[in-house]
Subunit: 422 residues, 2 copies
């Protein structure tokens, strides 16, 4: 197989399909989404059978349990995919929205129209439901999609792709609006991320390794999520109960997620009052605490095991029941620690002081900055976006949870009546 | 000189200064802008003397007249710079604007706050006024700037840099908010565009060669302007006089600008009625016409010289009194030509038909899409942005004329009262 030729063809087809899709009205796009949802449900048996091929091959290859779990489809998961598609169909169509339309001194009416980006390449790992999710978000936002899933999910992804194609046909949309790459050859990814002529943006979804590899080699712009080293800072002005509730929730609600707290910063003035109770709660959940000297001394004698935090701990996304704790001398020291160690994902301050809250909101440079709330809220559904393709830790284009709007751009539209420039 | 060490220091200083600047209120930033404006005027003699050193060196090196003209400063141009700074001071501050603040079902208030990008690197060629313009736009939008001008303008840029530093000091802002690179070593650019830790975005300003070189090698995101191959399409439903006025204005108002029309598309049904008169007007201005077969036949016998257009003409940004003309069979053929050959800058349709106008606006994928207006209007001032750092032909982040808003991003802000995720 000539990979370059194959990918060029995929790219050309996507570009062509994106032009058709840009013309499609919301009804047509929604019809496709609802048809795909129905087809996924009616293809349940096939989907699970194809998925079993992937699972069998994965077991043979010795994939670990966690990976096999992410790879697995069952009735509930397939229904979840279908439900997700129906929810996306129900969202307002972002394409064509006109804003800031004003008369300028020349008499021209000038405004902005929201438009699709064009062709989006999505590179992901083992979870087959991403195939349906990503296809649906791209379709709704008027973008053609080129999807490259993990090789271990190849059968599952192709089976889902069949449903997508049929759904597009039923809605009279070109089948190339969503293309699932059929080769497991790694060179296909290399082509995809450098085809500037055919691909407008790349969204990698997966671990940090995948994302670094892709953004290191891409010539097409990448919207990416690196890591989530999220901080909660408990100021001396915090309400004690809110501080404990939030610090507990932000760490223990779920461990393997990017918006979980990884480092707790506590003001020196309040640490003796708050940390012992909190530490007991963490201990009951089996959370390992890695403490700075001061926080360790507050807990000394109280806990069975307190691990001394190293410099490396402040820069680590544990994604596990581990928490680093540091005592700081007030908001400036807290923000300095955040500046040095945050990944720019989400930070929260616990305080009853309005001036400090204002400062934290203005000065902390992360995609989400919170006051008196658990970092766990940082996600597209909680933010009212309806759906998300991921959380961007980039600073340009889309930042934070990326929904349909993040998959679009704006162009200027200018309405005149024979206007010429003097 | 150790370029890597020098640039790392510049980067660290910029990052640090950007944190201070993010805290500065509008008054402070405006005070700096107005002080710099005053200092430029009061340093007139020095600026012109330093500029003369550059001009002398340039003449010795045999730079061409056009380049020497771009390089030259005189009283009027220095006053123009000062005036530009005062206009930027008068614009509203984009930083801190909060939008879309709504209660979510959880009871959290969630919205977006407009924030600076951080550190912006600007790479430009010979015009020294860019030093003041770019510094002012970055400063107003809360970004630290690292400026790298052309080596031929080194003395002029350093003299302007002295005024900027003094102005920042007078406003009590860190002088590193604007840093002008003091070396002409090309490796400095290589460092600047790959210092992901210290630089958030690169904006190259200059010819296509410079921009391609930079975006080909950058690891930092680039907001760029490639070429402007702008089209005007005269549909059969056009008002004859508006069509002639606009097609004449879009080509002849100024030649060397990116928003000048380079290709005129005319519907076959109307070409015989419109083109002869228009061609005479172009001829009087000395515009060379490169015609497709059909348009050439319409003009045959009428014009002294009609050049046959080659395939290459459709893809050429002349920036000169040259125009390519093609007859097309209606709006679909026109949009197909635009899809194949446009650089995505600006296209305009001339029509009195509302349905066709709607289609053109929706389907043409360029940063500005116009109806019955000259492409020459595509610029930040005409669009009401107050000032622009350039016109982006990218599809992500900022598209079209880029003003202060394009130099910012948005972060999510979340206000709670002890909210935890269930």
């Amino acid at each position: 197989m000539d990979i370059k030729k194959y990918m060029t063809q995929i790219g050309q087809q996507a570009r062509q399909a994106s032009r058709e899709l840009a013309k499609a009205d919301s009804n047509k796009k929604n019809k496709a989404l609802l048809s795909i949802a129905d087809l996924l449900e009616s293809s349940m048996v096939t989907l699970i059978a194809e998925n079993n091929k992937d699972l069998d091959a994965g077991k043979e290859k010795g994939l670990d349990e966690a990976l096999l779990d992410r790879l697995a489809l069952n009735e509930e998961r397939v229904q979840g995919m279908a439900e997700g598609l129906r929810q996306i169909a129900a969202l307002p169509d972002p394409v064509g929205e006109i804003s800031d339309m004003n008369y300028q001194p020349s008499g021209l009416q000038i405004g902005k129209m929201r438009v699709p980006l064009g062709v989006i390449g999505i590179i992901y790992e083992s979870r087959p439901n991403v195939t349906a999710d990503a296809a649906a978000l791209c379709l709704k936002s008027g973008n053609a999609a080129i999807l490259r899933g993990g090789s271990e999910a190849m059968h599952s992804n192709q089976a889902i792709a069949v449903c997508i194609k049929q759904g597009l046909e039923q809605a009279d949309l070109p089948v190339d609006v969503v293309q699932v790459i059929e080769t497991t050859d790694r060179d296909a990814v290399g082509e995809l991320i450098t085809m500037q002529k055919y691909v407008d943006v790349i969204i990698p979804r997966g671990g940090k390794g995948l994302i670094e590899r892709i953004s290191g080699n891409a010539r097409v712009p990448v919207i990416k999520h690196l890591n989530g080293i999220c901080h909660v800072y408990i100021d001396a002005t915090a309400n004690r109960q809110k501080a404990i509730d939030i610090a507990y929730n932000a760490k223990t609600h779920r461990y393997g997620v990017c918006n979980a707290m990884e480092t707790l910063l506590i003001d020196a003035d309040i640490v003796a009052d708050i940390l012992p109770e909190l530490a007991k709660m963490y201990e009951q959940e089996g959370v390992e605490l890695r403490c700075c000297e001061k926080s360790a001394s507050v807990l000394s004698g109280m806990m069975d095991s307190v691990v001394a935090a190293t410099e490396e701990d402040w820069d680590t996304e544990y994604l596990a029941p581990v928490l680093s704790i540091r005592v700081v001398g007030g908001i400036d020291a807290a923000m300095e620690h955040i500046f040095q160690h945050s990944s720019g994902h989400t930070e929260s301050i616990i305080t009853e002081d309005l001036s400090l809250a204002r400062r934290f909101l203005a000065e902390v440079d992360s995609s989400s900055v919170m006051v008196n709330a658990s970092t766990r809220f940082a996600d597209g559904f909680e933010y009212g976006l309806g759906a998300e393709i991921g959380i961007s830790t980039d600073k340009i284009h889309a930042r934070g949870p990326v929904g349909l709007e993040g998959l679009t751009s704006q162009k200027y539209i200018v309405l005149g009546d024979g206007h010429i420039r003097q």
